[in-house]
């Protein structure tokens, strides 16, 4: 079991969804957070590794942590 010390405020569960939907949903969810709040995105689309972190950064958010051990990937992103 892998855990993180970062405590998210919201979670987006994108299990089973193929690209580009995990990245699109992430970018749509971020503005709903207050500045400083953290979103946890859970995805089992391996390809999301090449889009969620870069898209989040490009759109002005901070990627705090990526855990990519096994088929499920967790992204922690701060608004």
């Amino acid at each position: 079991m892998k855990s993180t010390t970062i405590i998210p405020d919201f979670r987006l569960d994108m299990i089973g969804e193929p690209c580009p939907y995990p990245a699109v949903a992430t970018l749509e969810a971020m503005p709903q957070l207050q500045p400083g709040q953290i979103l946890e995105v859970i995805s089992d689309c391996p390809q999301s590794i090449n889009n969620i972190p870069i898209d989040a950064k490009n759109h002005g958010y901070e990627v705090l942590e990526i855990q990519q051990d096994g088929p499920t990937i967790r992204y922690l992103i701060r608004r």
Binding site: K2, F10, C19, D44, D69, G70
Partner: protein
């Protein structure tokens, strides 16, 4: 670096896509030099469709398309065949090493429709143009065939339409943002990771031994198998996605994959050029309306499906059932094209010239023209990125 670090850094973690695509570009040039053909997959998928029809009792011997691409031999005796086998083994080994194989079932009916329809449209378009993201783009442009440029531009336009359609409400599953107070534990099965790693290694080593033994009596087949293995490793480990290179320009403004592919083609082109200067014939196809129409359909189809003809291969072996359907769609679409080829070809294809830029502009002129066009592509991508985010910033100001 000890074994544990090596394993984690290179066999488990994803690779950075930029160097990976450049490596694929270099390897694809050597692949051409050694096998005499270019890195391509959809022609072979079409042959599979032909074999299935033969097996069902359909006589395809008079179908013009199979005379163009050839239907002799089998998966194990064709260069494209053993190369694709190598790609599947490479993708599957890489996914097993990283414990990235999991049955992922489609969660919604609309995704099943998307996968099959998108796959059919992309398969049909690719074969109409005589290539997919590889033969009519990534490895077609470095062959100096004008049709690949037509296809690339049309694919970009088609992908824009695909992006618009894929984001229509009918394709959007409402997602709930949940309020949480703790991270979700990710359950790892350490024993499964270990088991999958061993199976992946066994598969990988077995295939290498088989390919090396083939190389001893049929060198081109053996080398093709080994190159396929390397291509497979690269696309899975780095999650190389040609669809995203086009699609995400429009959807999220991300340009990394597009730039990587342009760089990959730039290194591939000089390699192929050197072989052509030594006397090899590049693979040139008809630069007719077929390349444009095929590109439009292909660009639309890959975005609707979520992956192209190489993209579905690694995702399928990762256990993403969605991409089994995309692959099936590709084979159906390309076989449909073979069915209607004899009616379409005289109007759209064979009465147009096969244009080799190295002949039209001479060797130096053709090379220069290719690099100039790649430079223009790169400049357009950079401009689009600036424009996309400037527009977004303006919109943010207006709503604030």
């Amino acid at each position: 670096m000890n074994w544990y670090n090596f394993k984690y850094q290179y066999l488990v973690r994803f690779w950075s896509p930029v160097p990976a695509v450049i490596a694929a570009g270099i390897l694809s040039a050597f692949y051409f030099g050694i096998t005499g053909t270019f890195w391509a997959v959809t022609g072979e998928f079409t042959r599979w469709g032909g074999h299935i029809l033969q097996w069902l009792g359909v006589d395809v011997s008079h179908w013009g398309y199979f005379q163009v691409i050839g239907l002799q031999g089998s998966l194990l005796t064709r260069i494209d065949g053993v190369m694709i086998l190598g790609m599947f083994v490479g993708c599957f080994s890489a996914a097993l090493w990283a414990n990235n194989v999991k049955l992922r079932l489609p969660q919604h009916r609309i995704r099943v429709f998307q996968a099959i329809m998108g796959g059919i449209i992309a398969g049909f378009g690719a074969r109409l143009a005589m290539g997919c993201n590889l033969a009519a783009f990534f490895t077609g442009i470095p062959q100096f065939s004008l049709h690949a440029w037509f296809f690339a531009i049309a694919t970009a336009i088609g992908s824009l339409a695909g992006a618009k359609v894929s984001l229509l409400p009918i394709f959007r599953i409402p997602v709930q943002l949940q309020k949480v107070s703790a991270a979700q534990p990710l359950n790892q099965h350490a024993t499964r990771a270990q088991r999958h790693f061993r199976i992946g290694m066994l598969l990988f080593i077995t295939f290498v031994l088989w390919a090396v033994s083939r190389a001893l009596d049929e060198p081109r087949l053996g080398y093709a198998a080994l190159f396929g293995l390397a291509f497979g490793l690269i696309i899975e480990r780095a999650q190389v996605c040609f669809t995203s290179a086009f699609r995400d320009l429009w959807i999220t403004g991300r340009t990394q994959m597009a730039k990587a592919i342009i760089a990959g083609m730039a290194v591939g082109a000089i390699g192929v050029y050197s072989y052509v200067q030594l006397g090899m014939d590049p693979k040139i196809f008809w630069a007719g309306p077929n390349a444009v129409i095929g590109g439009l359909l292909f660009g639309f189809g890959i975005v609707l499906a979520g992956g192209c003809e190489t993209g579905w291969m690694y995702r399928a072996v990762e256990g993403q059932v969605h991409f089994w359907l995309v692959g099936l769609g590709n084979i159906i679409g390309s076989t449909l094209l073979a069915l209607v080829w004899d009616d379409l070809a005289p109007i759209l294809v064979v009465n147009f010239d096969k244009i080799n830029l190295l002949k039209t502009f001479g060797p130096q002129g053709g090379l220069l023209a290719t690099y100039t066009m790649l430079g223009v592509f790169l400049a357009l991508v950079l401009y689009w990125e600036k424009y996309f985010f400037a527009r977004k910033a303006r919109q943010a100001l207006q709503t604030a």
